[in-house]
Each structure stands twice: as C-alpha cells, then as structure tokens.
Amino acid sequence: MPAFTTTRDDHLIAWLTALAVCIHIVESVLPSPLPGIKPGLANVVTIAVLVRYGWRMAAWVTLLRVLVGSLLLGSFLSPTFILSLSGALCGIVALGAARALSPCLPGAELSALGYSMLAALAHMAGQFFVAYALFIPHPALLHLLPVLMTAALLFGLVSGRVAQALLDRVT
C-alpha cells in the first residue's frame, strides 16, 4: 500500500463534503414546484465553509459534493450532472471574485447572507445559460428566467440565513 499523508485540511474537506452530500441527497427526494427550482440547502455548507475556512476549502467541498452526489444518485455525466456542475462552478467563481474584490471596496465585507445570495444567483444563471446553450437553444426558455432568478434570490437568502445561524453556533 502506498503511504498517503493527509493533512488536517483534507480531513476537514472530507467531513464537510460528506455533510454536504447528505443534504444534497435528502434534498433530491423533495418534490420541486418547477423544473430547475430547488432550495439548494447543500450550499449552506459551501457558505459556512467559505466564511470559516476560506475559498479554497469551499471550492473543494462544493465540487466534491457535486461529484459524489451524482455518483450516489446515478446522475453522473447526465444532463442533470452537467447542469449541477456548471451551476456549482459559477457559484464558486462568483464567490471567489467577491472574496478577491472585497478588499478593494469600501465598507464591510459580505456576510454569509450576501455570499449566499450571490452564489445562488450565479449558480442559477450559470445553470440556465448552460441549459440554454447545450440542451434547449430556444428563446422561449428565457421566459422562465425571471421566475428562476426570483427563486434563486429567495432560496439564497434562506440558505444564507441558515449558514449564518450555523456559524453563530460553531464560533
């Protein structure tokens, strides 16, 4: 057996990913009112990790969650997976950009709420445009965009609030 050395960060990433995967899977069972809309509660973990451990860990946890979640749900490499991955990537990129830009801006840094809104909106937008570009390149799909983005904002706020409550308890 080759000897692997794992760092404390690796263990943390694994634990937190496991937690996120659980939420992801439980949530996948819930019925959805409209295609493309779901609460995205697994993102609570992303946001909490971002605020507490930084962007690198949050990116790991999120991308691993999408990968492992899809393997467990059997959607790996399916359209669902591609949408999920593109959403996650956009969310992570948006969070990274917000983090990188925050020192340049006056005023406070975003709180969990702000990060969560931003990530949810970026996730939805990214997912939407990938769906549009790859699966249904038709202008009619754009009619869904306002509703989807509204849902993203609301769920982003809720997840952000949950992440904040979580952070209040662990710190």
Binding site: L110, M117, I136, M149, L153
Partner: protein
C-alpha cells in the same frame, strides 16, 4: 427569523432586485392567451399545432416517445420516458411564451403568443 444585512449585502440585494425587475419586464412583457404551440425536438422545429383542435400527439424524442395532450386551448405533457417527469409536472400551458420541456428527451413545447411587432429598430 431576522435577516441582518450589512451594507455590502444590501448592495447585492438591491442590484439583484433591479436585475429581477429588468428580467420580468424584458421577458414577461406580453402574456396573452396563446393560440398555437410550437413543438421542438432536439432544438429543431417538429411542428406547430393549434391549441383549439383537441388531440393527443406522440412525439419521438431522443429517449423514446413523449405524449402530449391538447384540450380547449391548453397543452400539456401526459407521458415522457424521462426520469424526473418534470415536463409532466409543469402541467397545462396556456399563455403565450409558456414553456414545458423534457430535457432528457430533448422535447420542448412552447405556446406562441402575440408576435412582437419588431425584431429590432435601427435609426
């Protein structure tokens, strides 16, 4: 439950609300009762059907045959060989611009509304 937004959060929220207002005006400007529906398979037009001729259609998609029902000015998916059945859960469509899609089977149903008068205006 209280939402304590700091200044940076509020900026994001306000920007988002402005974006949403824009999206609603841009994409929901004209919602009138549709008269026809366009059915697309794999991004290509399959047929345009009247919503006032009651019928059931069997549309061949990538995975198999999806069944679509038209009744009294409304259209819906009633069967599709996909996993999530989200196309079916979308329910009846009736207003111009409304869409139901079966992503896995690559079938989209779009109710056609009033055509926009201009595609673009140049000066």
């Amino acid at each position: 439950m209280t939402f304590a937004l700091n200044r940076a959060d509020s900026v994001i929220l306000i920007a988002t609300l402005a974006l949403l207002a824009f999206l609603y005006i841009r994409f929901w400007g004209d919602a009138t009762q549709g008269e026809q529906a366009r059915i697309l398979v794999g991004g290509k037009e399959f047929s345009v059907v009247s919503l006032y001729k009651d019928q059931r259609l069997r549309i061949p998609g990538t995975l198999g045959v999806s069944e679509i029902e038209i009744r009294a000015g409304k259209i819906r998916f009633i069967d599709s060989p996909c996993h999530g059945k989200q196309c079916i859960h979308t329910g009846w469509l009736t207003l111009g611009g409304e869409v139901a899609a079966c992503l896995p089977n690559r079938i989209t149903v779009q109710v056609l509304g009033r055509e926009p008068r201009f595609d673009a205006i140049n000066f």
